[in-house]
């Protein structure tokens, strides 16, 4: 028990170091872009004489050496202060918190959808290798796999919203809707269908292909032969011996996808006008709203690090071999 606590503590320490490195790297990268924040503000203000610029620089501390600015930024982050967006006239942390639920709802739904549908499709294909099911799944997942996300999104809008008028094409709630409670939830769910499916399709294909390949590998393994020699029925044989082992690599992949829950939806959010972090980042980039951009970078990198840790822990739970030798 003590060993596990220590192991987790060490992992947290490493994770903190990684996040700090990412913050600093992002900070420097942003500063490599031509023009400093002062010139952006000045540009938006419409007046840009040298004196005003110098005044702005002094006001925001931009005349300080870069390492002092970095220090100020990092110590702010440690106190929960991600900076202030002058463009939106709001603290960055408020902006992010406001947008985070929408993104998590979208990406979380897509994640669960992809995982369930992908594994189910892959299992159906792998267990019926060489038959019609396998062929259909393989073709479908290849199409999902090979088609660009935004194109699928646009085509889905064209088909399901414009032509068939079944599903809303953009936004998270109906315009002008004042529904509350269940009615509001239903409205959101209604809007969620197209973007979530679009976002999930690629990973559905990835899970399906991987599950299929993994099952084909596992089903010829010695211990599956042993299980058959024991006289096991098909159900337990597949569940306990084939699937249980074939799904281990899926955990790794799911961890990678989970890490992109916040940052991976920029395209989809843009296509479907979904009010999430991705849109926020995209707008911030276009408007050169550096504080917001840095804040989004921070949140996404923290998510990746956190989910990597969770993946490692989950792996320890599902595979007894891990942790025994680590």
């Amino acid at each position: 028990m003590m060993r596990i606590v220590l192991a987790v503590a060490l992992r947290l320490l490493k994770a903190a170091a990684v996040v700090l490195a990412i913050v600093l790297l992002n900070f420097v990268l942003i500063r490599l872009a031509p023009g400093d924040p002062a010139s952006v503000i000045a540009g938006q203000a419409g007046a840009a004489d040298e004196q005003f610029m110098a005044q702005l620089r002094e006001q925001f501390g931009l005349d300080q050496p870069l390492y002092i600015q970095a220090y100020t930024y990092v110590s702010g982050i440690l106190q929960g202060d991600l900076g202030y967006s002058y463009r939106q006239a709001m603290p960055v942390s408020d902006l992010i918190l406001e947008r985070l639920p929408a993104t998590l709802l979208l990406t979380g739904t897509a994640f669960v959808l992809a995982l369930v549908a992908g594994v189910a499709m892959g299992a159906a294909a792998g267990l019926n290798a060489g038959k019609a099911t396998d062929f259909i799944v393989s073709v479908v997942s290849l199409i999902f796999y090979a088609t660009p996300l935004f194109w699928i999104g646009l085509m889905a809008i064209l088909l399901f919203s414009v032509t068939l008028d079944w599903l809303p094409a953009y936004g998270m709630v109906s315009t002008g809707s004042r529904a509350t409670g269940w009615a509001r939830a239903a409205d959101i769910a209604w809007h969620l269908v197209l973007p979530a499916v679009t976002l999930g399709l690629f990973y559905t294909a990835v899970y399906a292909r991987m599950t299929r390949a993994s099952i084909l590998e596992v089903r010829d393994m010695d211990f599956v032969r042993t299980a058959r020699a024991k006289g096991l029925r098909r159900g337990p044989l597949i569940r306990r011996h084939i699937l249980r082992n074939a799904l281990l690599p899926i955990v790794t992949l799911a961890g990678i996808q989970a890490g992109q829950l916040v940052g991976g939806a920029i395209l989809t959010e843009t296509v479907f006008a979904w009010p999430g972090i991705g849109r926020l980042a995209f707008d911030a980039l276009v408007q050169r709203d550096y504080q917001v951009l840095l804040g989004v970078f921070l949140i996404t990198s923290v998510m990746v690090v956190v989910f990597n840790m969770i993946t490692d822990l989950v792996y320890r739970l599902v595979d007894p071999r891990i942790g025994a030798t680590a």
Binding site: R3, D222, F223, A229, N245, R321, A324
Partner: protein, 543 residues
């Protein structure tokens, strides 16, 4: 005459088209009686395992199909049963154990649960199962049964895993146990224990055992009757005394003659002046367990020996004895943590750059796995010439050498333009030898070089190594787990146990009159000892 427990009649299994023969097995007829151990023996490709799988109904149906014959058990033809009826027989009336204990158990399920599964699937009430699992674990002599059933397979040794397999197989007291090479992957001492266990359980329960093996030593130890298979056909069958001592079929005679035996004739004296001198060689592997202290494993612990030109020194030991690590240290494939390796007076451990390259031109290795040790995408000729070309030999000269070597190892010149997968295991090992010799080394390290080969092929490759060593006046380090093979080819042997030297000396002294208890136990565990005693020493092995 009583009805046999199992009778296989005219069984024929077709191979998928395009192979070099049409049937995996054809017209095999065999009987297994109650309380009897029938050994099916043969080389790879003889169809012995396919025969066993056919009885269990475990043939890969999309590749191998039974096209004729019957398998009669309990008054029924097993081939007529549907999958569900066959499933009920499997694990209950007929059980099977396999060759690879390391991979035959589900890695993510406790061993106790895996034993319990047999009981569960054949409808033993849940309340009775835990006690029965412990009873079975005890019956197969697993240490600390209450604790061990909670472990996962990775926490068990190979021998213990095979005991778990046997426990599963015996759970419902089957009428027939099919054992497919169950001891081939185990160390000799473990093998002897598992053979004992199978024999004892078979006697106590009166089972019929169908035992598949390639090893005549194992046959001698366990069989009542023997069936010899060659290329899918049964060539000879009879009681053990008859088949082993007076084999009638020429193929059986050839196989038995090829079985390596302990030789008694003392090897010639070895010339003075060692080419390779190993002094207090030490190799330490470090690993950290969680946050505990660093764990040190002394894989090789202060080992010293010498090899002269024209001499073959054997390194023998079980898995984990450090024998392969020593070979790797000598060739600098692994770093040296202590002591020194002196080659022609130079310290191998500190060689760098050009000196190391030059050393690799003088010391070469033949690896165990002829399938994995050649690049599958390179033509054989390219693999053989790579060494000389890397050492600056002109292409024309490298090609001349390659052709001469291919001829020397018994392959035709056309072999150079083919890929490794077009060759058999024995041919590939010949290519491996040619590859090692292409740089004209003075020292050859052969790491389990014949272990993956069938006995008849093994004998040929051993002959080849022996001749080449003499012709080229090589110093040879021959690493093997098989004492009989070591006895055949080595002048002197070093016996290793857990990284330390137990005993070393002239091969006939060490194996003929072992002084250390460990060496004695190793020799006692060699299968077929009593049978070898009956055999006259073949003249050819006295070199």
């Amino acid at each position: 005459m009583t009805t046999p427990l199992l009778s296989i009649e005219d069984l024929t299994v077709a191979l998928p088209g395009g192979g070099d023969r049409r049937h995996a097995i054809s017209n095999v007829t065999l009987r297994l009686n109650r309380g009897e151990v029938l050994c099916i023996v043969g080389e790879s490709g003889s169809g012995k395992s396919i025969t066993a799988s056919a009885v269990m109904g475990l043939l890969p149906g999309d590749q191998l199909k039974v096209t004729g014959g019957q398998i009669r058990f309990d008054g029924r033809n097993l081939l007529d049963l549907d999958e569900n009826a066959m499933r009920r027989i499997r694990g209950d009336r007929i059980a099977m154990i396999f060759q690879e204990p390391m991979t035959s158990l589900n890695p993510v399920m406790t061993v106790g649960r895996q034993i319990e599964e047999v009981l569960e699937t054949h409808d033993v009430p849940a309340a009775e199962r835990p006690a029965k699992v412990l009873e079975l674990a005890r019956a197969v002599d697993l240490p600390d049964p209450e604790e061990i059933v909670k472990r996962y397979p990775f926490g068990l040794s190979g021998g213990q895993r095979q005991r778990v397999m046997i426990a599963m197989a015996l759970a419902l007291e089957p009428d027939i146990l099919i054992a497919d090479e169950p001891t081939t992957a185990l160390d000799v001492t473990t093998q002897a224990q598992i053979l004992d266990l199978i024999r004892n359980l078979q006697r106590a329960r009166g089972m019929g055992v169908l035992f598949i093996t390639h090893d005549f030593g194992v046959v001698a130890d366990i069989a009542d009757r023997v069936a010899v298979m060659q290329q899918g056909r049964l060539v000879e069958e009879g009681p053990i005394e008859q088949v082993l001592v007076r084999p009638s079929h020429p193929y059986t005679q050839k196989l038995i003659a090829a079985v390596p035996r302990f030789r008694t004739a003392r090897p010639e004296a070895v010339p003075e002046g060692p080419l390779l001198r190993v002094k207090d060689l030490t190799k330490i592997y470090r690993s950290r367990r969680g946050f505990g202290a660093m764990r040190e494993t002394r894989a090789v612990d202060a080992v010293s020996f010498e090899i002269a030109r024209g001499e073959t020194l054997g390194l023998v030991g079980e898995s984990g004895s450090g024998k392969s690590t020593i070979g790797q240290c000598i060739l600098r494939l692994a770093s040296i943590d202590g002591g020194e390796v002196l080659f022609d007076g130079k310290n191998v451990g500190t060689l760098q750059g050009h000196d190391l390259l030059a050393y690799r031109g003088r010391a070469q290795m033949v690896f165990q796995d002829p399938f994995a040790s050649l690049n599958p995408r390179h033509r054989v000729g390219r693999s053989i010439m790579a060494g000389p070309l890397a050492h600056g030999v002109p292409r024309a000269e490298a090609e001349r050498r390659m052709n001469a070597l291919l001829e020397r190892v018994g392959l035709d010149a056309g072999a150079a333009s083919r890929f490794p997968h077009e060759f058999s295991g024995g041919q590939r090992q010949r290519i491996g030898i040619a590859r090692a010799l292409a740089v004209q080394p003075d020292l050859l390290v052969a790491d389990e070089a014949v272990s993956a080969l069938d006995v008849s092929v093994q004998a040929q490759v051993l002959d080849l190594l022996r001749e080449i060593r003499r012709e080229l006046d090589l110093a040879m380090l021959f690493i093997t787990h098989d004492l009989r093979v070591a006895s055949q080819i080595c002048d002197r042997v070093v016996v290793l146990h857990q990284g330390k030297i137990v005993e070393q000396g002239v091969v006939t002294d060490v194996f003929g009159h072992p002084e250390q208890p460990y060496t004695q136990s190793l020799i006692a565990a060699v299968p077929g000892r009593s049978w070898h005693g009956d055999q006259r020493e073949p003249e050819t092995s006295n070199i």
